[in-house]
């Protein structure tokens, strides 16, 4: 086959010449390469101090958003749990009592909402499935831990706080906004 790059090198079992059998030129060549690398730029990112720049639409730890008034958007419909290919999401629905209107946006809400971060594959299907624009994936990383059951994240870790709202606008790419305009899908009504 014709080579497109001209980098192809034919390797044969030819007899080595006397100089090649000495191996010393080859060793010196190798030493030159390693010495060159000693002074080249290091690729390490010193993690806690420096962080690698994330993609705009990085899919990391989830967040459960609140609406403009600070009420939780989630209505415990369970579509995310159905969409989840890894079976990572479970929830328990409850009815909103009188006087809790500022806490929950609609009459039904999730009393318990758990994502098992060890099962989660961060595909983002839950975000696609959510009809209430409640769950989003963010550019935050799930931190490591010593116990397996610590990775089952409840509402305490997932719901954004009022003081510290999580920005998800980076994930609203033009394609996403275009998709949301399509009111034929129940999803966007």
């Amino acid at each position: 086959m014709q080579s497109l790059t001209n980098r192809k090198k034919v390797v044969g079992k030819k007899e080595m010449t006397w100089v090649e059998k000495l191996y010393i030129p080859a060793i010196l060549g190798g030493m030159r390469i390693t010495l060159k690398h000693m002074f080249s730029k290091k690729t390490t990112i010193s993690y806690p101090e420096q962080t690698r720049e994330f993609s705009q639409i990085y899919r990391g730890m989830h967040v459960l958003k609140r609406d403009e008034k600070g009420a939780e958007r989630c209505t415990a419909c369970g579509l995310c749990a159905v969409a989840c290919p890894a079976e990572a999401i479970t929830m328990v629905a409850a009815e909103r009592k009188k006087g809790e209107e500022n806490l929950y946006r609609e009459e039904k809400y999730a009393a318990v909402y758990e994502i098992n971060m060890l099962r989660c594959i961060f595909c983002g299907d839950c975000e696609d499935a959510c009809p209430k624009e409640s769950i989003f994936l963010t550019d935050r990383i799930v931190p490591s831990d010593f116990e397996r059951n610590e990775f089952v994240y409840g509402k305490d870790k997932l719901v954004e706080t009022l003081e510290n709202p999580i920005d998800i606008s980076k994930r609203q790419t033009p394609e996403v906004l275009e998709f949301k305009k399509n009111k034929k899908l129940t999803h966007n009504r």
């Binding site: 390469i33 390693t34 690398h37 000693m38 290091k42």
Partner: protein
């Protein structure tokens, strides 16, 4: 009883002991740093500034580890192994001339612990005993990996000692003495033995890689096939002793190479600069250590460049290449000496 000479010797012994240990300690740090740099990484940089306290952290870790002695091992020999390895590693430094001599209050003090008139043979004797540390440790562990590692170590060290000895014979023929002090003194200025014995130097340095069990001849402890080799069963500070002895050996091997082939404490134009003899002696010590550090770096440089030999390749190189080459070197040296004397 405490003559100034004796006091000076004691100070010298203690300081060389301390310097050896500190250099061996920081060689472990240097090894990791150099490995990292050659692989485009940063290396240990968390303990202290630039990770300078990393050897201390490693030492503390070693001490805190559980001390395990396998039930089926030979307990006396199991403990004796690392002790022997460490002792023999430290013994060689006694005969290396660290500098010419220093004049304090009208008396000359030699910067060498003892000047054996058969210094070169002493180096060989002690490094040969060093193989017992590995052999005994590997055998006493009663573990097949340890035993294989120990067997490899001993056969490798014995094979390469022959070529090393033959390389040294050529050097002794051209210098005419076995005393390291006289060999050093004869290389005054820039008359280094490397220019007289380039082939001998090449053989010697290859053999010293094998003698110190360093890559590319680190078969006794090759992780990929023998777990840890002879020290598989060792833990805690006994393992630390083995690892530490390897770095001391590397330091001593560098010192011996510098002394035999690279002029020891001599440096170019040492006698033409009009400095006092004490200043020259101190500069000489600095130059010797610079040479030693270069060779320690060289050992590490090779380790992170060349892959490990296969065992049959190692034996073939030792017996069918280096030994004939060393004998050829002796003949060549003899012919040249014969020709120049006539």
């Amino acid at each position: 009883m405490f003559t100034p000479d004796l006091i000076f010797k004691i100070v010298l012994i203690v300081s060389i002991f301390a310097i050896t240990l500190v250099i061996a300690m920081y060689s472990t740090y240097g090894e990791r740093k150099i490995a990292a740099f050659m692989q485009d990484r940063l290396g240990p940089n968390r303990a202290g500034i630039f990770g300078i306290l990393q050897p201390l952290a490693d030492g503390v870790k070693m001490f805190m580890k559980e001390e395990l002695i396998p039930d089926i091992s030979n307990k006396v020999l199991f403990i004796l192994g690392p002790c022997l390895a460490m002792t023999t590693a430290l013994m060689t430094s006694a005969i290396i001339p660290w500098g010419s001599s220093i004049n304090i209050g009208g008396t000359d003090f030699s910067l060498q612990i003892t000047d054996l008139n058969i210094g070169v043979l002493y180096v060989f004797a002690v490094t040969s005993i060093g193989v017992y540390g590995i052999m005994i440790g590997g055998w006493a562990s009663n573990n097949k990996y340890s035993l294989l590692g120990a067997l490899r170590a001993s056969s490798q060290m014995i094979s390469y000692e022959i070529a090393m000895g033959l390389a040294i014979i050529a050097l002794i023929m051209s210098t005419g003495t076995l005393s390291l002090k006289e060999i050093s003194a004869a290389q005054s200025g820039f008359h280094w033995n490397i220019f007289v014995q380039p082939l001998g130097f090449l053989i010697f340095i290859i053999c010293s890689f094998a003698e110190t069990n360093r890559a590319p001849f680190d078969l006794p402890e090759c992780e990929t096939e023998l777990i840890g080799g002879y020290h598989t069963e060792y833990s805690s500070m006994k393992l630390g002793f083995y690892l530490f002895a390897e770095y001391i050996n590397m330091f001593i091997a560098s010192a011996v190479i510098s002394t035999l082939y690279f002029g020891g404490y001599n440096f170019p134009f040492m006698n033409d600069m009009g400095l006092s003899s004490n200043a020259v002696a101190i500069l000489g010590v600095i130059f010797l250590f610079a040479k030693i550090f270069f060779f320690i770096f060289f050992f590490m440089w090779i380790r992170w460049t060349i892959p490990r030999f296969r065992y049959d390749q190692l034996m073939r190189l030792g017996w069918t290449v280096l030994i004939p080459l060393a004998i050829f070197n002796i003949l060549l040296t003899g012919a040249i000496i014969f020709a120049t004397n006539n």
